[in-house]
């Protein structure tokens, strides 16, 4: 026994000596000739609070916890014994109990285990108490390392030495130096398809090399097809790869010191941009290009560009959600994706410029933005150039632009494109005009109001007003119900009430008394709204009123699909930066429609649109006779109902050359009706190359919807995305500049924190204070 102990001590001495020698050798080695960067001056501030060994030296420390010291309470979540445990191999690996190690491994950060542990070690150093508290029989192995990286908690930006690129704070807000300085959006709209280029400018304001990580939104139907990284004057096109492979390649490049960038998709409307080895004072631009079809409602086209991801609530047990944490608290949410938010006292220097160039083909009658101040010029009656006003460049809410064309209405449009892959088309189906003359059947209107913390203040007030307006327009044969949900669901009464004046007054009183607090257990609202027995005499219309700030979107969409049956879902998105992916897909899966009510516009328009839809029978059970065209792969595969005021765009593949007539047949109010649309496959010789990508994106959306009910390995989505070069949850864009290796290791990971959306309260949605509300 004594020999064993002495042997251990001997090995310890040898190991430490070896480590020291090794460290000296590396320190003495000449810098790489390809990495001429000057080091930060010695007078600069330290990178992190915790003491660190010299660069490139690994300082291994091991702790073994004394089970007798265990205490069941008092440990912070990030230090909790459940968070880390030894790997099965025992070779120093650390594993997050929630499986996040698998993600770290997938990301390929070679030292992820150690860095994860390193974070714990540093935090332990910073805490006088020292060690985390462990459960009985558990051991915690802490391995400190000189560098910070993805697996570790990044330092506060102000703890990094700065280059003086940022201004001093004006007024009471403190400006935080951040690596994302500017976003430039250039959109061009032809017909009803937008082509949008988004350029993000990353600039390192610190005196240390960094990796910048930015979680940002794009439209949920964006077909992201181009990715270009600009390093100085050189442009490097990123390639689409399988996500796991791209993450591994990025990690390798990052580890070896190459400038690299990676774009991954966390949700159809949430993306993560990582830029590795961004040197002090250097700038790297990332340009994305996507296509998306514009929405058309009641004769108005709508262009939307989201600017910030709203803070999401993740139900207990969720690990693949989207966490919302305060700036600098990386990893504290335990979610696979995490957004850091600036407290109200801070702001970033990140601003946005946006232009939209519209070529409508018909004279533009009216154009407006309900969300931003814009400047507009009209080079021609059919064209408009819109620029975001210089005083409205804070990226904290969706940009919405609406325009209306001259003329009575927009006719059905049939656009085509052919290339070596075959023919693609989009067909815009207009509801038959006579529907507007028909009376609707009685309905059972179910309002489902989100009363969680994120709806606190203006959003809930707007939701109440919207519901009140809708209630007041119910007919005597209708019934209604009001359901609220936050931590759980509650409702006005056990059964829907007849829309009598007395019952309506009762409903309004209930509505006015609703308060917002707690988490967003939306699943409870979905169940409460869709599960009770259906009145066969009435059309059930379920109206969700929410900002959609949840991290378990796929679960909610799966529940809606499984429970909706004959009901129709008409969602109202309330707020400045709504989760449009969730709201749109709920409406699609519920064969209804969606309307958005911003903070700066009244609810009148949305309620009018809603009643325009539900006040007349829809054309349901659609079938299409394609005439002389041979059509396949039509998306959406389940054709939606045609409501008054809301055209539907479908896409597909085709063969055939002869002009033909497409006939759409459906039922409305017990009558069979047919709509005829002229279709000329030659399309007047025009080409619309974006159609192939739009078709592929819609196919991916259809596959994503199916996966919410029947989870799979994503092979089908991956196949489509790789073939068409598109982003998806299973593919990623990667670009590496292999021409030069930067000096030093891969540097500190700095997340780009964002402001909470306009109108959203930080204290009820972000970090510990929000968590307190759900405990």
């Amino acid at each position: 026994m004594r020999k064993l102990f002495l042997l251990a001590l001997l090995v310890l001495v040898v190991a430490l000596a070896s480590s020291s020698c090794s460290s000296k050798k590396e320190s003495a080695a000449p810098p790489s000739p390809t990495a001429p960067l000057a080091r930060a001056p010695e007078t600069s501030a330290p990178v992190a609070q915790a003491p660190q060994p010299p660069r490139d030296q690994e300082n291994h420390v091991s702790y073994m916890a004394d089970p007798q010291r265990n205490s069941p309470g008092g440990a912070q979540p990030q230090y909790a014994p459940q968070a880390f445990k030894r790997s099965a191999s025992g070779a120093g690996g650390m594993m997050a109990a929630d499986g996040s190690r698998e993600r770290l491994r997938a990301l390929g950060y070679g030292e992820a285990d150690k860095n994860l542990a390193g974070a714990v070690g540093r935090r332990a150093d910073e805490r006088a108490a020292g060690l985390p508290r462990l459960g009985a029989g558990e051991e915690l192995w802490v391995i400190a390392r000189a560098d910070w990286n993805q697996g570790a908690t990044p330092p506060e930006p102000e703890s990094l030495p700065r280059c003086g690129l940022n201004a001093k704070p004006p007024g009471s807000e403190q400006e935080i130096p951040l690596p994302l300085t500017h976003t430039d959006v250039k959109a061009s709209v032809a017909g009803y398809i937008a082509s949008v280029s988004v350029t993000q400018q990353y600039e390192n304001p610190y005196q240390e090399k960094i990796e910048a990580v930015y979680v940002f939104p794009l439209p949920q139907d964006a077909a992201v097809s181009e990715f270009v990284m600009t390093v100085g004057e050189r442009k490097i096109r990123g390639l689409i790869r399988e996500r796991e492979q791209a993450e591994q390649l990025y990690a390798d490049a990052r580890q070896q010191g190459y400038v690299a960038s990676l774009l991954t998709q966390e949700r159809p409307n949430i993306f993560t941009q990582s830029v590795a080895n961004l040197e002090p004072g250097k700038r790297i631009d990332i340009a994305l290009t996507y296509f998306n079809p514009l929405a058309l409602h009641d004769g108005e086209y709508e262009f939307v560009f989201p600017m910030v991801v709203g803070p999401r609530f993740n139900p207990p047990g969720t690990a693949n959600g989207v966490g919302a944490v305060p700036r600098g608290q990386h990893g504290s949410s335990g979610q696979a994706t995490e957004v850091q938010y600036l407290p109200p006292s801070e702001r970033s220097g990140h601003d946005i410029a946006l232009t939209v160039d519209i070529d409508a083909g018909l004279p533009i009658e009216r154009i407006e933005s309900p969300t931003h101040v814009i400047d507009t010029t009209a080079p021609a009656p059919t064209r408009r150039q819109v620029t975001l006003h210089a005083a409205d460049t804070v990226p904290n809410k969706d940009f919405v632009l609406r325009y209306r064309l001259s003329g009575e209405d927009v006719r059905g449009a049939f656009l085509t494109h052919r290339d070596q892959r075959g023919g693609f088309f989009t067909l815009m189906l207009q509801p038959p005009a006579e529907l507007a003359q028909a009376e609707r059947a009685p309905m059972e209107l179910i309002f489902v109001l989100d009363c969680s913390g994120s709806m606190s203040g203006a959003p809930l007030d707007i939701a109440k007003r919207t519901a009140e307006r809708a209630l007041r327009r119910l007919g005597p044969n209708d019934t209604f119900q009001i359901i609220q949900f936050s931590e759980s669901a509650a409702q006005l009464g056990p059964q829907p009430l007849a829309a009598t004046p007395a019952n309506l007054e009762r409903g309004l009183t209930y509505l006015r008394g609703l308060q917002s607090e707690g988490g967003t257990m939306m699943i409870e609202g979905v169940k409460a709204a869709l599960d009770f027995p259906h009145d066969p005499q009435r059309l059930r219309v379920v109206s969700f009123m929410t900002d959609g700030f949840i991290g378990n979107d796929p679960e909610i969409l799966g529940e809606v699909q499984q429970r909706v049956r004959d009901a129709r879902v008409f969602s109202f998105g309330i707020g400045s930066s709504v989760n449009r992916y969730l709201l749109d897909r709920m409406a699609v899966l519920g064969r209804g429609a969606v309307a958005y009510v911003g903070l700066d516009e009244g609810s009148q328009r949305a309620v009018d649109q809603f009643y325009e839809r539900v006040s007349h029978p829809a054309l349901t059970d659609l079938s299409i006779d394609w005439g002389a065209l041979q059509v396949t792969d039509v998306y959406p595969q389940r054709l939606p109902d045609l409501f008054v005021g809301r055209p539907v765009v479908i896409t597909g593949r085709f063969r055939g050359d002869a002009p033909t007539t497409v006939r759409v047949t459906g039922r409305a109010g017990g009558t069979v009706r047919t709509v005829a649309v002229a279709a000329d496959p030659s399309d007047g010789g025009a080409t619309h190359p974006a159609l192939a990508n739009v078709w592929a994106r819609l196919k991916i959306a259809d596959l994503e919807d199916r996966a919410t009910v029947e989870p799979n390995d994503g092979t089908a989505i991956k196949q489509v995305a790789l073939e068409y070069g598109l982003m998806s949850g299973y593919t990623a864009f990667l670009a590496v500049d292999s021409s030069r290796r930067t000096a030093g290791d891969h540097g500190t990971t700095v997340a780009v924190p964002v402001p909470v959306p306009d109108g959203v309260r930080y204290d009820t949605t972000v970090g510990p204070s929000a968590k307190r509300e759900i405990e």
Binding site: K235, Y258, S739
Partner: protein, 148 residues
């Protein structure tokens, strides 16, 4: 008690000693640029399509534009044809001033893995002059040394 302590200490020391070795044992591969040069002789080069492949475990991780206008923007690629080390590139220009002779039109960024250097192959699928007519052109690839 002493045995447990010694066992743990020894375990910790093995961890200290073996961890760096384990890290060194991994061979993530190395990155290198591979330049693409086109020679169109005396005829101005306006458009090209190339097919490039690399054997072994090479993976293309980026496509950079050329050295001189009008080919400084990176060419487009066919995603359906993209595999690990295979790519089809194409671009065109309507600029008045087009390059002649030997021109670096693009650079591939490649990650190579394995013990053997991959064999690169390039084929000119098509090249065209300013009038859109096919022109003869040759392509060769120049793999740069490992910058490390």
């Amino acid at each position: 008690m002493t045995h447990r302590l010694a066992t743990r200490l020894l375990g910790a020391l093995l961890l200290v000693v073996l961890s760096p070795l384990a890290g060194r044992g991994a061979t993530p591969g190395h990155f290198r640029p591979v330049e693409i040069w086109l020679d169109s002789g005396d005829v101005p080069l306006a458009a090209y399509q190339l097919e490039i492949s690399a054997g072994g475990d090479a993976v293309i991780v980026g496509v950079e534009g050329g050295a001189t206008p009008p080919f400084t923007d990176p060419p487009r690629y066919d995603p359906a044809a993209l595999q690990g080390g295979r790519i089809i590139l194409a671009t065109f220009s309507t600029a008045a001033d087009l390059p002649r002779g030997r021109t670096r039109v693009a650079t591939l960024h490649v990650r190579e893995a394995g013990d053997r250097a991959p064999q690169y192959h390039a084929t000119v699928v098509a090249a065209a002059g300013a009038d859109g007519r096919p022109i003869p052109a040759t392509v060769n690839l120049v793999a740069q040394g490992d910058p490390s």
